[in-house]
């Protein structure tokens, strides 16, 4: 009896696109997710599993996931964490990032007033202007602390 096995009808180009759409993720020592993106040249000679075995730091557990699992918005990139092939944003870490951005924005507004405050003829007005800046960013600080989700936090950051 003769039996013939049919070869799967998979285009090599489609296979390449599938490979290029996958990334390797693992959790770093600081708790943030790292994303390893293979190069096209490496995928022409290695599987993504072989690349993971080579490029993931020793002892780290990793997952191979579809590129679509990676958020496109990197506003809170340092707050990305992963579990079960999904990347989530750690809200307290995202709030820390928002506070860093708030402090940076406040410093920019303070800078010219800090100079004026050292000039006797402008010191009073400069101090009044500084208080306005303090009040503005105090309100933003409260808004960041009371934000209940990442979308709300992002709106605040975009307004800085």
């Amino acid at each position: 009896m003769f039996c013939m096995t049919q070869q799967p009808l998979v285009s090599p180009y489609l296979d390449k696109e599938i490979k290029m759409s996958q990334v390797i993720i693992y959790t770093q020592d600081n708790g943030t997710v790292a994303i390893i993106r293979p190069t096209e040249e490496a995928l022409s000679t290695m599987t993504i599993e072989q690349i993971a075995a080579k490029d993931v730091p020793a002892g780290m557990l990793f997952e191979i996931v579809d590129d679509s699992a990676i958020p496109a918005d990197r506003t809170f990139r340092s707050a990305w964490e992963h579990s079960n092939s999904t990347i989530n944003i750690n809200m307290p870490k995202a709030q820390d990032i928002a506070h860093d951005k708030r402090r940076a924005a406040r410093s920019v507004e303070f800078a010219p007033l800090d100079i004026k405050a050292t000039i006797p003829s402008e010191a009073v007005n400069a101090e009044a202007a500084r208080q306005v800046v303090r009040d503005k960013y105090s309100a933003i600080q409260l808004n960041i602390d009371s934000a209940i989700n990442v979308s709300e936090l992002k709106l605040i950051v975009e307004g800085l």
Binding site: I24, Q28, T32, A34, I35, I36, R37, P38, T39, E40, E41, A42, M46, I51, K54, D55, D67, I70, A72, R74, R77, S78, A104
Partner: protein, 136 residues
Amino acid sequence: MAILSGSEVYVTADGGVPFTGVQTFGSAPMPVPSGSAPIYACRAWVNFNGVGTVAIGVSGNVSSVTDNGVGDYTVNFTTAMPDTNYSTNVTARASLGAGEIPTYGATTASSVNANIYRGDTNVLYDPAAVSVTIFR
């Protein structure tokens, strides 16, 4: 044809006569350099974008790029360097108009860490594009 002289290799035209003028490798012309200073070839190179989803353009001897966080990347070599005494060049194309400070951090024989900082605040940030080249 290659001629060995001590630890150096001289590539010559057929018959042992050194190349002169422009040579063609495949479809690429390669002028013969003037002077006698040695040539050291790039051992690994890659360019990738850092804004949005990190995407690798083209590369040579690079197996992958790790996105460790904002402005923080690890370039992994397909074939490792002989040691860590290689020269690393990191450059970046600004995306914020604030200027950027490209640096490199930890080096191993199999990878190098590249970091991009904002020029005005010295804080890590994602540039529009990053290029890394390795010489050894």
